[in-house]
Point group: C2
Chain length 179, copies 2
Amino acid sequence: MEDLVFERGADALTIRDVAGRAGCSTTIVSHYFRTKLEMLVFTHKGVRARAEALLNDAVENKSGLLTTMAALLPATRERQKDWNTWFAFWGMTPEDPRVTLEWHQDSSQAHSLFERLAIVGQKSGEVHPALDPGVAASMIKVIMNGISSLWAQDRTRWTAVEQQKLLKVMLKNAGLSQG
Amino acid sequence: MEDLVFERGADALTIRDVAGRAGCSTTIVSHYFRTKLEMLVFTHKGVRARAEALLNDAVENKSGLLTTMAALLPATRERQKDWNTWFAFWGMTPEDPRVTLEWHQDSSQAHSLFERLAIVGQKSGEVHPALDPGVAASMIKVIMNGISSLWAQDRTRWTAVEQQKLLKVMLKNAGLSQG
């Protein structure tokens, strides 16, 4: 479904289009999803699971903050699709409890993973030892989401190389990539 | 229309709903807008004009970077509506030339205004004199959009006070708010 969101926007998530893409009947799709919102929440959960797996691996393998963040940026087609789903989801309305819950799970999971990554970085000397890991996690998310938003609006200018250049400068400034 | 986007998401921008909100017939609305996309582009233009006016004023009156950015963050109901429209717009697909054009105008206008704001800041001593104004402008946008994205996902936690606290730290780290 993230293919549909990427190619034609969140609007394209109709039961008919999803069925067409999956090559099955609308009856099957509507057995699982009743609304566009349910399909978007499902898509978001998939995107989130991928990012969380990547971050978990990074914590386990001590991959380092700069490497991990570079791997999350919208520098490849796969990641760009993920970011498009995130943007579409940020612009949703908080009225629906399923959206609020999914927002909450996303931001709290990401926060705790970034926090653990910051602590690993402090041990390796990549992250400034005086930084509070919670504040570090917020700054990491601001830098990640912010650079991705530049790509969102100017996709030819913000190439992988330009994204990484800005990432390096901003991590260094914030004390998140020393030495 | 940004009210509709905020309350019910970009999906709510149907000709019927806009007509209902404006208290006029669907015939009148469909005279101006043929599609949801046209309505969203129109809404985005309005949001952009407001932000650009605020930035222009800041450059003219030398309001300072910290003050100006604090005024742009989603700290009031009005700004929160604007940010919701931006998020919805970032998640759109680049296929349509009207979207690409509006993205381009938004990012190039904002970039040049932030660049001018950085130069004003260098004269007043707020911004580090060694910073390239173009790079400064990109960093300003990353910090702005990034903090707003934290609010997007956790609207109770990221209050106006919390947004400004993080803004101050990150501007200072980046050399954008000295002294």
